[in-house]
Amino acid sequence: MAHGSPRNRSGIAAAGRLILRRLGSALLTLLLVSLVVFTISALLPGDAAEETLGQSATPEAVAALRHQMGLDQPAHLRYVRWLGGMIKGDPGQSLVANMPVGQVIAGRLPNSLTLAGLTAAVAIPLALAIGILSALYRDTGLDRALNLMTLGMVAVPEFLVATIAVLVFSVTLRWLPSITVVREGIGWAEMLRGYAMPVMTLACVTVAQMARMTRAAVIDQLSRPYVEMALLKGLSPSRVVLVHVLPNAVAPIVNAMALSLSYLLGGAVIVETIFNYPGIASLMVNAVTSRDMPLLQACAMIFCVAYLLLMLAADVCAILANPRLRGQ
């Protein structure tokens, strides 16, 4: 590589350019995603007009409605119209709820975000602690026990975790409600009781993934020569891990966090269904069963936006954590 003096360049500008490039790439991906989502849903046999009017409708009525809804236009025009609506915040009319998709989602999105936020608040510190602890005590009994635990948590289906939790805490012990009620004006205690089981179930899966990635990232760094050097300087193992290793493991750890957090929105389908929680993922399942395409497309796009935002945030963290990339 060329040597050059990096200090001559403006470091912040270099990092900024890098981040802008990532942003541009994310936007391009989003555009392509919208194309994929639109194409797949356009392959459906039958369309919204038929769905709305039902089986008994006359072909004339269907054709009339189709024209009214603009469904008789060529696909690329419909795509452009749909995309325009998405950008303006008007993803169309929900066929089942018979109200604008925007409104349906607006009623559900805050619930999903609350659930995701609470789970993240529990899961991230826990995962970091488990991951770092098992890396620090690598190949000891503690590490093996934690490893087995996270392995089990990753491998067990959520509906099993959720059903066992219901069995234990609602049915047997009667401590917690088996469904989570969301309404205005409930007290903190009531709310926490209601959220306890969904959060626990979601945390189970995400903690395990994040902890395993954290451990792997830390252990990967532990084999580097600078770690041996730090030990030969007489530093304690905990200082070596916290001060020397962690700054270098930020990128993979943050990436794992972003992946897991994106899972909290779209992957919460089963948890939302079991606990009857009015989130956006169960809304999407309803859209699938009722084949409410405008709603389905909007939900899918929301999840993709969330994923891309989280990945972008992880990228920015990685850039800022790396002196080479932040152009020091």
Binding site: L28, T29, L30, L32, V33, V36, V37, I40, S41, L43, L44, N147, L148, L151, G152, V154, A155, V156, P157, E158, F159, L160, T163, V166, L167, V171, V205, Q209, R212, M213, A216, D220, L259, S260, S262, Y263, L265, G266, G267, V269, I270, T273, M284, V285, A287, V288, T289, R291, M293, L296, C299, A300, F303, C304, Y307, L308, M311
Partner: protein
């Protein structure tokens, strides 16, 4: 040829190892957790393949007067919400779960690895096109992607197989591509290019053999993800449709027995858990599996 001076190495030559001795050697290197995992995997593969033959009763037959019966000599795992034999239904369900997931994971891993090799040895623009497309697919969360596909195409067995494969191909591609791109820079591959070798030879003979182990480990992970995805879909009523039933469907249809802690719901749930934990234990114990790159499930 002229006889060479016998050097030290010749006396060290080992007799050609037989397949059996190699397997034994491999097993002896496996830690306990790995052997447990291997046993579980083999058990479920056998049950998945031979399940219906082993089933004591017909899958759909109402054989017990009691619903949610507990263990008995006639019904080892009790009866379900309609009084059918849980063991027979479990064995039949395992066939769907294991078979579908195995086929999907094979398809996903093979497609992913094939595309990755293509992207590696072909001109840059090919790589850019494939990578961009896969990056797009991977940014649709897997469950969401599967749901959209189910909504669009329905959920027959073939479609479920294809949907699960399509959902996990981008992840398999990403990992295989990272491996292949690294290997492509190795000196021995560069030597092969400089020898004038064709792309097909380089991909198949020089790169492939050196990425097979990590790709196999990744295949195991994909299998686990797909088992969980298909079970989840079935649990939501969007997966395998009645009268067929996979393990996820069994959990769903017996959900009313949850309050009583019925075997009919615990047995299939535990079946899924032992299958996925088994595969994970095995992969985890594989020697030199290198840096594991896990994707989201």
């Amino acid at each position: 040829m002229t006889p060479t001076v016998p050097l030290r190495e010749e006396s060290m030559l080992k007799p050609a190892s037989t397949a059996a001795s190699r397997v034994r050697h491999w097993l002896s290197g496996l830690p306990t957790s790995g052997r447990v995992g291997l046993a579980l995997v083999v058990l479920w593969l056998v049950l998945g393949a031979a399940g219906p033959l082993l089933a004591p009763y017909d899958v759909g037959a109402f054989v017990s007067p009691e619903v949610f019966d507990s263990m008995s000599a006639q019904h080892w795992l009790g009866s379900d919400y309609l009084g059918r034999d849980v063991l027979s239904r479990l064995l039949s369900g395992a066939q769907y779960t294991v078979g579908l997931a195995l086929a999907s994971a094979l398809l996903a891993s093979a497609t992913g690895a094939g595309l990755a090799l293509t992207a590696t040895v072909c001109p840059r623009w090919v790589d850019e096109v494939i990578s961009r497309f896969m990056d797009t697919l991977i940014s649709i969360p897997s469950k969401v992607f599967a749901l959209v596909l189910v909504a669009a195409f329905g959920s027959s067995l073939t479609l479920l197989l294809l949907i699960a494969a399509a959902t996990y191909t981008p992840g398999a591609f990403r990992i295989a591509r990272a491996l292949a791109i690294n290997l492509n820079q190795m000196d021995y591959v560069q030597v092969a290019y400089a020898r004038g070798e064709g792309r097909l030879y380089i991909a198949a003979a020089e790169i492939m053999p050196n990425m097979i182990h990590p790709v196999l480990a990744d295949f195991g992970l994909r299998f686990v993800f797909i088992v969980l995805l298909l079970s989840g879909l079935s649990f939501l009523g969007l997966g395998v449709q009645p009268p067929n039933a996979d393990l996820g469907s069994l959990v769903r249809e017996n959900i009313s027995g949850l309050g009583d802690g019925a075997l009919a719901i615990l047995a299939p749930a535990m079946a899924i858990a032992t299958l996925t934990i088994g595969v994970n234990l095995l992969i985890d114990a594989l020697p030199g599996r290198g840096r594991r790159i896990t994707g989201g499930r």
